[in-house]
Amino acid sequence: MFKTLEQDRPFIENKFHIVGEPFKPLGRWNYHGYAYDESTGLTDEQIQEGLKALSESIKNESHPVQKGKCFAYVLDNTRIDINEHDYFIGMWTWARPLTPYCRWGWETEKECPEAVETLDKYEYSGVAFGRLDYDHTVPDWDSLLELGFPGILQRLHDNYNEIVKNGGATQKQTEMYKGCVIAYESIVRFIDRLYKYALTKTHAKAKTYAECLKNLRDGAPTNTYEALQLIWLYFFIGEHIDNYQVRSLGFGLDSSVYPFFKKDMESGKFTKEEIREFLAYFYMQFSAIGNYWNQPMYLGGRDRNGNTRVSELSYIMLDVYDKLDIHNPKIQIRVANNTPKDFVYQALKMVQTGNKSLVFCNDEMITKCLMSKGATYEDAMDSLISGCYEYGIKDGGVAISGNLTNVLKAVSLVFENGYDSYSQKQVSIKTGELEELKTFKDFYNAFLAHIEYTTDDYLTALNKLEPGIADINPSLLFSGASKRCSKTMTDALDNGLNNGSGISLSGLGTAVDALMVVEDLVYNKKIVTLQELKTALDNNWVGYEALRHKALNCKHKYGRGDEKADNYAASIVRFYHKLIANRKNAHNCGYGLEIHSARGFISHGLKTLATPDGRRAGEETSKNASPHAGSDTQGVTALINSATTIDTAIVTTGFCLDVTLHPTSVQGESGVDVLYGVMRTYMDKGGQSIQFNVFDADLLRDAQAHPEKYENLQVRVCGWNVLWNNMPKSEQDMYILRAESLNK
C-alpha cells in the first residue's frame, strides 16, 4: 500500500488540470484534470443549471439560507473520486460555482455606486487598489480538529438552543444558524457519499480511505491521516464553495497535527515512514492546484506559555517538503529566540540549495505587532500567519478590506498638481503649480498631501462597502467552525469576529529614490528646474538620457545604508501610520499597516508613468520593504540596515524584505552560518519577515540580457566579490559556463 508516491506522483500532478496544457493563472479552478467516474454525479454544466433553477426557487429566503442550500446542492451532486493513485479525496466541481448566484447579484445590491466610482477612479489611475477582502481567512482549526464536522454541527445546535433558552434568537441569528446547519449537514452527507463510494473500490488504498472517511463522517479525526484529510476537505470546500480563501493549513501544520502524530507513534497506528508518505501526498495536492500565490502554511513559533512549537514532526514536515522539490505550498518558518537552531538550520540549508519558497518570520516581532493592536501577550504569542506574511489572532478576526496603495504615484501627482495623465483625470487635490514649490520641503509636503487626501478618500469609500460583506457572501463554513461566532450565531464578517482593515504599501523604495533625485537635481544642484524635469518625465526620458543617468547616479537611495534616504522611508511610513492610527473601519475596528506589495510592484508600475528616479513609464516599482531594483549597491548588510531604519513595530500587519544572494556567497558549511547571520541580525534589528533569493546560471543569463534589473547582483569569483555588471560580456560568459559546470 505504501511507498507508492513515486509512481502516483505524475497522476496527482494531473488531478486538477492536465500538465502542459495552457491555462490562465488567475483562475486555476476553471480547469479539470483526469476524468472522474460519471456515475458519481453531475457535470459542471448540470450543476450550474441546477443552481440556477434552485436559486430562482428560493429567492425569498435569507441570504445565509439561500447560500446554504446552494452549497448543499453542489456537495450533494458533484462528482467524486476515491483514487487508487491518491490518499486525498477528489471533488469535481470546483470552479467556485456559487459565485454567480450568492455573490455577484448580492454584491450589486449591497454596493454603494458612489463608493465604487471612487474606488474605480483610484484603481484605474494606479493610486490604490482597494476592495472587500474575501481572501484572507484562517478558520478555527482547533475547533475543527477537536470536533470534526459532526461535532461542529452539534455545537451549532447546542449553541442555538442555548441562545433560544436565554431570551430568544434574533431573526438574523436564526437565519445564520439555519444556513450553517444546512452547509455542515451537507458536508457530513458528502463525506458519507465518499465513504460509501470508497467501499465499492477494491484498490490497495480503498480500505484506508474508507476507515478515514467513516471516522470523519461520524466525528473528529483520530489519527494523522484523518487530520490531514479533514484539513484538505475544509480547504477545498472553503476556497471553492464557501468562497473564502483559506490562508493557512492548521494553526501551524506541525502544531495542529502533532497530537495526532504523537498518538499514532504511541499506538503504532502508523509508522513514521507512512506518515511521511501521507504528508507527501498532502503537499502534492497544493502543488498540483498550482495557484500563483502559492498555498501558505507555517511551522514553528511558540505556544501560549512561550514554549517552542517545534517538535519532531516539524523536522519531518520540512524534510518531506524538501525531498518533493516543489514550491507550493509555501512555508513560513516562525523563528523565535527559543526555536531550536538546528530546525532553523534545516530550513536555511534548503534555501542554500535553491529553495525559494521559505520565508522566515520573526516571532517576537509578531507578538509585538499583535499586542500593539490590542492582543494579550498570550494570544499574541499563540497567533497565526495568514497569507504571505500577515499576522492574526486565532479565531480573532479577518481583514475585511484590503488596500494596496502606490506610494510612488504621489510623486507623480505633485508634478501634475493632482491630475493623473495615465487615467486622464484629476484624481487628487491641487497642491500647487510647479513654480510655487520653491523648496524641497514644499515638494515633500505636496507629496504627503496627496497621500493624505487619496488615502482618506478611498478608505472612506471602502468603509461604505464594508458593512455589506457578510450579506454578500455569508461565511457559513468559516463562521460555523468558529467557536466565537458559533456562540453568538453571528457571521464572522458581520462582527462575529473583530475584523480590522488593512493598508499595504507598494513602491516605497522607488518613491524615496524619486524624492531624493528631485531634491538633489532640482533643489540642491539646480541642474534642472521642476518644469524641465517634468518635461523629461512627460517624454518618458526620451531625449534626456544624460539627465536620466544623473538621476540614476544620485547618491541618496533607499537600500544602501544611506542615512538620509532611509530616514525619508521611515518618515513616510510614520506618516501612513499616523493617518490610520486612530481610524476605525465600518466594523469599529482598527487598521493595520503593512509593507507588502503583493503584485502591486507590477500592476501599479504599469499605471505609473516615468518617475524622477530614472524609472521609465510602466516599469516595475520596488516590492515589499525592498529597494528599487539596483538601488542596493552596498550589499546585503547595508540593505538590512536600511530596511530596519523603518520603525517596524508600527507596521503591525506585515513587513517583508527580499534578499538576493548568489549561490557562491552561501555555499558550503559556513554558507549556512552566513544565512543565519543575515536572518538573525535582521530580526534582532526589528525586521519581521525575510526571504532569500539564491540565484543560479539561468538567472545569470537573464542578468546578462537585462543588466538594469540586477544592479546589485554580486558574483563571488575567488578571493573577492564583483558586481555582475562590472564584468564585460566575455567574462560573464565564462562565469555562466562555470556556474553550469558546477551544476553538473
Partner: protein, 294 residues
C-alpha cells in the same frame, strides 16, 4: 598615520569565517602572474576606465584639469599619461565607467565603516579581515587598526602573502585571531617563476607564525601549468606544522581581465583554468597529509 585603501568590501563571506567586512590595502611586494586584484599592485592611487561601460557623454571632459579625457570621432578616449588621479571625473561619469582605486584613510576614519556590520559578525562568527595587496606593508597601521577592532570585541583576520619582514608579523600577532596565509609554491624556482620572488622568507615566516601558536588558514591558489605540480610538496611541508586549521584550495580563474585593461596594465593572466576534477584531486592529496583541506 594613513594607509591607502582600494576597497572596503561588506558582506565578504570568503575571507575567513562568517560574515565579514574586508578592507583592502593598496600595494603588493609580489607580482603574481595570475593576480586577480591588479588594482592592488601599486601603492599609488589610480584611475580605472572600464571602456565597456562608457556612454560617451563627455561629462568627464568638463572637469578634467589635465585633458586626460578627450573625444575622438565621437568616442571617448583616455590618455593615462596625463592623468593625475585627482578623481574629479568619477562622480561626473554617467555610465559609471570610471573608478578611483586608492584613498587614504586614518584608522579613525576607517573604524566606523568596519564596525557598521558588527551585529552581523556576532551572529555568524564573522568579523573584519585586513587584506590587500599586502596589508602588512602597512604593519603599524594594521597594528593600530587591529587594536581598535579588538577593543570593540571584533574578530580579526589578516590576509597576507607572507613576503614581509618577520617584525611585521610580530607586531600584529597579539591582535590577530586568524591569519589567512597564501602558499603559492614550495619550490623556490617555481615561486620565482610565478611571483617574481623567492619564497624563502614566506616559508620561514609561516614557521614562525606556527611556532607562535597563531591560528592559520592556508590558501593555495591552484593555477594549471604554473603551480599545479606543487601540491604534494606543499602538503608535505604543511603536515609538519601544528596550527594549520584549514587549507583552502582556490581554483584559479581568469575573470579579472577587464581590470587589467581598465588600469592600462599588461594582462598577465594565464589562459588555462582548472577543472573540478583537478581541484578535487588537489584537495584529496592535501587530505592525505592529514590536513583539513577544502
Amino acid at each position: 598615520m594613513k594607509a591607502k585603501i582600494f576597497e572596503i568590501k561588506r558582506f565578504a563571506v570568503h575571507d575567513g569565517d562568517g560574515i565579514r567586512t574586508t578592507v583592502f590595502l593598496k600595494g603588493c611586494p609580489l607580482k603574481c602572474v595570475w593576480c586577480h586584484n591588479p588594482e592592488g599592485l601599486t601603492a599609488k592611487t589610480e584611475l580605472a576606465y572600464y571602456a565597456h561601460k562608457c556612454v560617451n557623454c563627455a561629462e568627464c571632459l568638463k572637469v578634467c584639469p589635465t585633458g586626460a579625457h578627450f573625444i575622438e570621432n565621437g568616442i571617448h578616449k583616455f590618455d593615462r599619461s596625463k592623468c593625475t588621479a585627482c578623481g574629479k571625473c568619477v562622480s561626473e561619469c554617467l555610465g559609471g565607467a570610471l573608478t578611483l582605486y586608492g584613498k587614504d584613510y586614518t584608522v579613525g576614519e576607517l573604524l566606523p565603516l568596519l564596525i557598521a556590520d558588527k551585529d552581523f559578525y556576532a551572529h555568524s562568527n564573522g568579523g573584519v579581515t585586513i587584506s590587500g595587496g599586502e596589508c602588512l606593508l602597512y604593519a603599524d597601521f594594521c597594528l593600530e587598526l587591529l587594536k581598535e577592532l579588538k577593543k570593540s570585541g571584533i574578530n580579526t583576520a589578516v590576509d597576507t602573502c607572507g613576503f614581509i619582514p618577520k617584525t611585521a608579523l610580530e607586531k600584529v600577532l597579539p591582535y590577530t585571531d586568524t591569519f589567512l596565509y597564501d602558499i603559492k609554491a614550495y619550490d623556490e624556482s617555481v615561486h620565482i617563476d610565478c611571483t617574481g620572488y623567492s619564497n624563502k622568507q614566506i616559508l620561514e615566516n609561516l614557521k614562525f607564525l606556527d611556532e607562535s601558536g597563531a591560528k592559520i588558514e592556508i590558501r593555495v591558489p591552484y593555477v594549471p601549468n604554473f603551480n599545479d605540480n606543487q601540491i604534494d610538496k606543499i602538503g608535505k611541508f604543511l603536515a609538519k606544522l601544528k596550527n594549520i586549521t584549514k587549507v583552502r584550495v582556490l581554483p584559479y580563474h581568469n575573470y579579472a581581465g577587464s581590470k587589467y585593461d581598465s588600469l592600462g596594465l599588461k594582462n598577465t593572466l594565464p589562459l588555462t583554468v582548472p577543472t573540478k576534477q583537478e581541484i578535487d584531486a588537489a584537495i584529496k592529496k592535501l587530505k592525505e597529509y592529514g590536513l583539513n583541506a577544502m
